[in-house]
Assembly symmetry: C2
Homo-oligomer: 368 residues x 2
């Protein structure tokens, strides 16, 4: 079992990573001092719930906790205000009060949705993340919670830190390969923004990571969480440094929006976005030419896409970017790589540069 | 012009109270350092907007600010997730970014709604309160923002402090008398929970306050804000002391819910709630018998109701209370008066005591 701490003063919290943690969830809640008088809400989805909800509730019940459940449809479409209101209804009808906790059992969608419920229900109740995907090693750390607006992603939310992250690696064994690849995209991102040595390690262990080899997976996730935790500790509310975590996300979010949040998984979209950032950096002489090739090869080693789907309309992608939170004072903010392990926040990328890279990335498979 | 400060460390903010402040709004925003590059959103309602929106935008435009507007229907029904989403749409379509401010021009409903928009839009942007009612001297101070769930009031929200409160007393001159009375209920409450001398002052100046005599009104609102600010400074997130501000609200919220948020104004409902709290206190020997009579007479001097409408069903009132945030670990929490100016938080009021006071308050007009 690995435990690390996100250092945020009085809002610091532990991340436990290991096997068999669901079976011990009750004890972990006890140690946190979660009330046994009040009922607690577990939010999960209709894919994860059937697999792991009983394991979690059995442990909680054995420790004397009462729980109610809200099971939402799997997928990004549940990150809506409509589903948010339904979960609130479950919380109220379940008799939750101010000492009740909200537990997110699932991937990034469930975590973001349940986290915004925890942040807003009665103006904030305790929140516990129980991630069940690789992608969630990223989203469950750092306190960004949100739902989508039909016009833009993650537009409605809060900074709300969990009391604890309980990361049971056993739950990853049932992930489909496409989800595994997409989840590893965020792990690779953590290397690219912060740590050249970890990036090399990822490249060398791509095969083992894709095969969920426990030792490599545990180490990779711990490193990913640790990098994220370091960045968040230094800038909780994204006033500066934290924005480097958005590598690949400026174009990535636009790709998801234009694809209707269904065509590409988040990790796949940001993989293309990271390739785009490397390409823009090379195009403007910000980074050497081989950086794009290295980045692209690394992502492809994980089976991730780097080409932009031909049918994605340039104008719609640009419009989606202009609705994003990263469009500030009429300028597009991109995170661009200088070299592997080092990025910078560049606030003056022009629309022409973006148009060019959109065209180049539609042809990347043909050209290479 | 009177200025006081809500002391909350790095979240401290000023409350400006005086005449002609709308006309100087642009200068106040400049002094706060609000960006002139980003557009700002003014949220108002269809009663206040026609009266004061132009006055506010003229001042902002003269200082070089760009604004967009969201005008919602007047009344508690706009404190819904549906209207919240509509205001978010206005924010996105208006091109707001992370440096944009949300301004609430209106009473408590607009303040609570716009405040939750400010707290949640892009996970939080600057918020400015421009209250236009007497009631809002209470709701605009302290950072409690929320919308209602159909099952319970203020169930979905945040603690989110404004950057500034700009309280232009000129806007109060157009208030209907019923709104004036209901607004003064919160001023009276601030006396009852904190300050016997101010309560006496309120009693002696009831006539002048109801007639909006500027000197008395300015002093009364400053005192009301100051008491609220002191309490909030000591307990921002309502972990203890702050709950005393809920005097009259346990039953008051239930009355509003059962009346469908339309029959009685918030101030009217908490007036009945304050009478109920005094009665419960007397019934359980917590306070001397004359306390109920004094409280009732004081409220009636302001033309406020103290009797519970006959048609309000006991069981529905009880059920609504059990859905309230003040129902914790299966017990009803009431704020009860010891004497004028002193209250205590009492967590063990029984359902029988509440049933008794509901019956007594339905007959109060007949008995007295």
């Amino acid at each position: 079992m690995r435990t690390l701490t996100v250092e945020l003063g009085e809002r610091s919290y532990p991340i436990h990573i290991g096997s068999g943690l669901l079976e011990s969830a009750g004890e972990y809640l006890e140690r946190l001092g979660i009330s046994k008088k009040s009922p607690h809400l577990i939010v999960t989805d209709d894919q994860v719930g059937p697999l792991y909800l009983e394991r979690l509730t059995t442990s909680l019940t054995a420790s004397g906790y009462r729980t109610v459940h809200a099971v939402v449809a799997a997928g990004e479409k549940s990150k809506s205000l409509t589903v948010f209101e339904e979960v609130m209804t479950s919380a109220i009808e379940g008799g939750l009060d101010r000492r009740s906790a909200v537990l997110a059992l699932g991937g990034g969608v469930v975590g973001d949705l349940a986290g915004f419920v925890a942040a807003s229900f009665m103006r904030g109740v305790p929140f516990i993340q129980v991630p069940t995907t690789i992608l969630a090693h990223d989203s469950s750390v750092g306190g960004k919670v949100a739902v989508n607006h039909r016009l833009a992603k993650n537009m409605i939310g809060a900074f709300y830190q969990p009391e604890m992250v309980l990361y049971d690696l056993d739950t990853l064994q049932t992930l489909p390969i496409r989800e595994i690849r997409a989840g590893l995209a965020e792990m690779v991102k953590h290397g690219l923004i912060w740590d050249a040595a970890f990036t090399s390690w990822c490249r060398e262990h791509a095969e083992e990571l894709l095969n969920l080899k426990p030792e490599s997976l545990g180490y990779g996730l711990e490193m990913g969480c640790a990098i994220k935790a370091q960045v968040v500790s230094k800038d909780e509310r994204e006033l500066g440094l934290r924005a480097i975590l958005n590598l690949g996300h400026t174009l990535g979010h636009a790709i998801e929006a234009v694809g209707g949040y269904g065509e590409l998984l988040h990790g796949e979209a940001i993989s293309i976005g990271m390739a785009a950032s490397a390409r823009i950096a090379v195009n403007r002489g910000f980074a050497p030419a081989e950086l794009f090739v290295e980045t692209k090869d690394l992502l492809q080693r994980f089976g991730l896409p780097v080409a932009l789907p031909e049918h994605m309309d340039e104008e719609r992608l640009i419009a989606a970017m202009m609705h994003d939170k990263k469009f500030v004072s009429q300028q597009l903010v991109f995170v661009l790589p200088r070299e592997i392990g080092t990025v910078e926040i560049v606030p003056d990328v022009t629309l022409d540069e973006v148009r060019q890279v959109i065209r180049e990335l539609k042809e990347v498979d043909r050209r290479v």
